[in-house]
Amino acid sequence: MAFVVLPEAPLGPWLAVLRGQIDKAPGFFNARPVIVDFAHLSPGTEGVATLLTDIEALGITVIDVENIGEIPCAAPFRRHLLGGRPTGAVEIKPTVRPTPEAAGAAADAPAAGSLPVEPGATPGLIVEDHVRSGQSVLFPKGDVTVLGSVSSGAEILAGGSIHIYGALRGRALAGAQGFARARIFCRKLEAELVSIDGFYMTAEDMPAEMRGAAVQISLEGGRITIAHQR
């Protein structure tokens, strides 16, 4: 899910540390949207005006800012929050790979760049079992199919679409590398959060009549749209 980063002055060294982390784990931020929290910065901090562009220059997608107050910093990000409310801090979870197949897939995930091939030709990842709380399945290459349910506190992140044959109670992030035509399907919608191409919707904003239903979720004109499965 989205990381919240908390930059600290001086910004030069802070950016250097961030760059170092990206070098160590290429592709780590790549598939994950980032929220920049300005809480530790002030309008006078050196380099603050270009901070967001500097972060994005490292290949990170910034989706939102928090505590920006009076700080003069242009927001280069194109994505916006549904309803315009800021998100809370999001926990960073360890990656647990539920199946050997998933482990292999995550290991050879592409280091950078957008979805490499057309969706029809992308490889798919099949998770045979439930994805339990605390586990995350990361598959930036293509579609993820889960035969079981996705628990509250679990997350699926796919470059392509996400197909869940059980209940979706956790988080599903489809089209995570910038693929707006990705969709999410599940047999029973009890999700905490769904996201397509960086746009997202939390449980609170989901239409009450869709809860518990078999749904498909898509992005229509920049809005997460939930419809009954036909």
Partner: protein, 271 residues
């Protein structure tokens, strides 16, 4: 072949230690050789619930560190001679639980006993990881409330990925034990429904243990509830759980609120 069972939950205070003692005693009553092992280093409890606290000389850490032999640390139960307890250390750090050390102790216990029941500490760190690592079977103890269910779900994920069996590509056999089930609160809708818990966790149900004063009474006198008063509701529920663990197909009855004669009369008149 010996079976290693971990009694685990993620969350604390749900009834793991109570259940380890009750199930251990009930298994021993079938004639099997049983040992209950306390992995809760620093918060040792199982010896109290089993009434063995005044006979502890050596503990699990002493055995792991080579300060004592296994047979010196094992305490035989006063009531059932085929039931033993391996206590935890109250003073040592849980880091003293080394992977190799635990593996050696478990291997030795497998040779001496039919059932090795490991009482796990709460959490998802080293202690619980060590307690579950060698398990063939897991009893996942859960209370019918949201946080307990989520923690159990997390533990099931770890059982499926971090245990020795999982790393060999095999499965740990998992059972759900729903404990501290309060029929009165269930009737008021203050607790998760049994079917909702089962749907979320989707592992087979071993039993439902009602919330009962008898559990406190038994632990205060240091006797597993299944031995202290075998006719009480929680004792019977644990006995049934053990029969299911041994493979018997027993129907599961959801505990109902017991209403007084007057209540029932009144209830019928209104209906």
């Amino acid at each position: 072949m010996a079976k290693v069972v971990v009694v685990t939950s993620g969350k604390g205070g749900v009834g793991k230690t109570t259940s380890t003692a009750a199930i251990g005693a009930a298994l021993a009553q079938t004639g099997a050789k049983v040992v209950v092992v306390d992995f809760d280093v620093g918060l040792r409890n199982l010896d109290l619930v089993m009434g063995a606290e005044r006979r502890v000389v050596f503990d699990l850490i002493n055995v792991i560190q080579g300060d004592a032999r296994l047979h010196q640390a094992l305490i035989r139960d006063k009531r059932l001679e085929n039931l033993s307890i391996l206590p935890a250390s109250q003073t040592r750090d849980k880091d003293a639980l080394t992977t190799d050390g635990v593996a050696k102790v478990i291997a030795e216990l497998r040779e001496k006993f039919d059932w090795v029941l490991c009482d796990s500490p709460a959490g998802i760190e080293r202690g619980p990881a060590m307690a579950m690592h060698h398990a063939d079977i897991a009893i996942v103890v859960t209370n019918p409330e949201v946080s307990s269910v989520r923690d159990s779900d997390r533990i099931i994920g770890l059982l499926d990925s971090k245990t020795e069996r999982a790393q060999r590509g095999e499965r740990v056999e998992k059972h759900l034990l729903l404990t501290r089930y309060d029929p009165a609160r269930a009737a008021r809708g203050d607790m998760l429904k049994v079917e909702d818990v089962l749907e979320i966790l989707s592992i087979p149900l071993l039993g439902i243990i009602p919330e009962s004063q008898e559990v406190l009474k038994a632990s205060n006198v240091g006797v597993p509830v299944t031995l202290n008063n075998p006719e009480t509701a929680p004792a019977r529920a644990y006995q049934d759980a053990v029969r299911r663990l041994l493979g018997e197909k027993l129907e599961i009855v959801i505990p109902q609120e017991r209403r007084s004669f007057v209540d029932r009369l009144f209830g019928r008149r209104v209906a």
